[in-house]
C-alpha cells in the first residue's frame, strides 16, 4: 500500500491499523502458546508478556491499566494457565508502571530495560507462586534460566515492537 492515502478507504484502513496493531500483536504473541513445540524444561521466554511490556514502555499513554485484563484472560486461555494468572499479574504490572511513570521524570533505553527486568522478575516469581499454590513442588531455581533468558530477549522483542509501531504510524 502506498504511504499516501488516496481514498477514504485508505484513510479508514490506516486508522484501523493504527488502533488495532498493538492489541492484535499482543494477542498474536499469546497465540504462540499454541505452537507445536514440546519442551521438558521451562526455558522459552513468555513472548506475550514481553510484547505487552514493550508496548507499555514504548507508548505509556496508549493503554489504561484495565486493558491488561482482557489481554491476560486471552493469554490464560491460550496457554492453559489457571484462569486469572496473567489477568492479575499483567494488570498489577500496568498499575505499578503507572506509578513509576508519575515518579520517574527521565527515561531512556537502559532505564526501560531495567524496569522491564524488574517486571519480568515479578512475573516469573508470580507464575512460580501460582504454580506452588496449585500443588507444584518445583523449586524456584527451575524458573531462573527462563527469567534470565526473558531479560536478554526483551530488547529483541522491543525492537520488533518498535518496528511494528513505525509501520502502524507510517503515513
Amino acid at each position: 500500500m502506498s504511504r499516501i492515502a488516496g481514498s477514504r478507504r485508505d484513510v479508514a484502513m490506516m486508522g484501523f491499523r493504527r488502533q488495532t496493531v498493538p492489541v492484535l500483536s499482543t494477542l498474536g504473541a499469546s497465540l504462540l502458546h499454541a505452537l507445536p513445540i514440546v519442551v521438558t524444561t521451562p526455558i522459552v521466554p513468555d513472548i506475550a508478556f514481553l510484547v505487552l511490556l514493550s508496548w507499555r514502555l514504548l507508548r505509556p499513554e496508549m493503554w489504561q491499566a484495565h486493558v491488561a485484563l482482557p489481554l491476560g484472560l486471552f493469554d490464560d486461555l491460550m496457554a492453559g494457565h489457571p484462569l486469572g494468572q496473567s489477568m492479575a499479574l499483567w494488570t498489577i504490572t500496568f498499575l505499578v508502571f503507572d506509578f513509576v511513570d508519575s515518579r520517574v521524570g527521565w527515561r531512556d533505553y537502559w532505564t526501560d530495560w531495567l524496569f522491564a527486568s524488574a517486571a519480568i522478575a515479578f512475573y516469573a516469581s508470580g507464575t512460580w507462586y501460582v504454580a506452588r499454590m496449585m500443588g507444584s513442588q518445583a523449586p524456584f531455581v527451575v524458573v531462573v534460566p527462563q527469567l534470565l533468558l526473558s531479560i536478554i530477549a526483551y530488547p529483541l522483542v522491543a525492537l520488533v515492537v518498535v518496528g511494528l509501531d513505525r509501520w502502524r504510524l507510517a503515513r
Binding site: 521451562p42 489504561q64 492453559g80 503507572d98 527515561r107 513442588q137 518445583a138
Partner: protein, 299 residues
C-alpha cells in the same frame, strides 16, 4: 527522553473521572482475577468447558505444525548421529549382546509367570487403550509442564486417565476439550507417580522436579536403595496408573536427592496411548458404610 505527561488529563472533569474509573476497573479486575485463581486452587477442574473450548480452537494450529517441527528436529538429531556413528556402533553392539542374554532370561521368566498365573487362576483383565493419539504441543513458556494431545472427549478421553508412550509413562489427563486435551506430564512439580524398582521391587514415589527430571522419594528412611541406571516402573499403588509401565531411569545420585530421567521424552515421541484408570474405584469417595465403619474403628 522524558515521558509525555499525557497521564494528567488537564482540568476537564470528565477526563479526570474517566482516568479514575479506569483505575477502579483495573483494581476490581485484579481482585476478580485473584478470586478466579483461588477458585482454581480449590477446584482445579473448574471452568472446564471454557478451557476445553480454547484447547479445541487452537488445536488445528498445533496439530498442523507438529510435522514441520518434527522434520527440523529430526535433521539436528541425524547430523549428530552421523558424527557419533563409530562410538555409537560399538556401544550398540555391546548393548545388543547384553540384551540378548536378558531376552532369553525374560522368555524363561515369562513362561514361568504364565504357568504360575494359571495355577493361581489369577487373570489380570486388560481393558486395552482408549485412544491412540499424538502429542501436539506443550506449555513451553510456562512453569508448569503440560502437553496437548490431539484427542478429546469425542474419542473417549476423560480427565484423570493415564497417558503412556511405547517407551514409558507420560502423564495424566487433567483437562479435556472435545477434540484436544491437556496432559500433566510426570515431570511437572505437581505430579507424583507411585513406582517400584525393577531390580528388587523397592517402592518409591517419583515426584516431578519441573525441569525435565524426577525426584525419587523412598517410602522408608535409611540407606538410599537406588543405583545409577536403575529402571523404575509403575507399581499400580493408588489405582490410577496400571502397574508395570516403565517410568524413568536413575541418572544421578546426589547427597539428598536421587535424580531420575523419564524414559519417554514427550518432545520426541510421535504417538501416545490414553489408558483407562487402572482401578476406577480408587478415585471415588468411600461409600457411606465404609466411612462409618472407619469412624467407628478410630473411636
Amino acid at each position: 527522553m522524558a515521558p509525555p505527561s499525557t497521564r494528567r488529563p488537564g482540568f476537564s472533569r470528565r477526563a479526570q473521572y474517566g482516568l479514575f474509573f479506569g483505575y477502579v476497573i483495573a483494581v476490581a479486575g485484579i481482585m476478580f482475577a485473584v478470586l478466579l485463581l483461588l477458585v482454581a486452587v480449590v477446584d482445579p477442574t473448574g471452568f472446564a468447558a471454557l478451557k476445553g473450548a480454547s484447547l479445541d480452537v487452537t488445536k488445528p494450529i498445533t496439530a498442523g505444525g507438529r510435522g514441520i517441527v518434527n522434520f527440523f528436529g529430526g535433521i539436528g538429531g541425524s547430523v549428530g548421529d552421523y558424527f557419533r556413528a563409530g562410538s555409537q556402533n560399538a556401544d550398540l553392539k555391546r548393548q545388543l549382546a547384553a540384551e540378548r542374554q536378558r531376552l532369553i532370561q525374560a522368555r524363561v521368566i515369562e513362561g514361568e509367570n504364565r504357568h504360575l498365573r494359571t495355577l493361581l487362576k489369577l487373570d489380570q483383565d486388560n481393558p486395552g487403550t482408549i485412544a491412540v493419539t499424538r502429542i501436539v504441543g506443550s506449555s513451553f513458556a510456562s512453569e508448569r509442564r503440560l502437553a496437548t494431545l490431539s484427542a478429546g472427549s469425542s474419542s473417549g478421553v476423560r480427565q484423570g486417565q493415564p497417558v503412556r508412550a511405547a517407551e514409558g509413562l507420560i502423564g495424566r489427563v487433567i483437562e479435556g476439550g472435545h477434540f484436544a486435551s491437556r496432559v500433566l506430564l510426570i515431570t511437572d512439580g505437581a505430579s507424583s507417580v507411585p513406582v517400584r524398582l525393577v531390580r528388587d521391587g523397592t517402592p518409591a514415589l517419583a515426584v516431578g522436579h519441573g525441569d525435565g527430571t524426577l525426584d525419587l522419594k523412598t517410602l522408608e528412611v535409611g540407606q538410599n536403595p537406588f543405583r545409577r541406571g536403575d529402571v523404575l516402573v509403575t507399581s499400580g499403588i493408588g489405582g490410577v496408573y496400571p502397574p508395570g509401565i516403565p517410568v524413568a531411569v536413575v541418572a544421578a545420585i546426589q547427597k539428598d536427592r536421587t535424580v531420575a530421567k523419564p524414559l519417554a521424552d514427550p518432545a520426541r515421541i510421535d504417538f501416545a496411548m490414553v489408558l483407562p484408570v487402572y482401578q476406577p474405584l480408587a478415585d471415588k469417595p468411600l461409600s457411606p458404610q465404609t466411612a462409618a465403619a472407619l469412624q467407628a474403628v478410630q473411636q
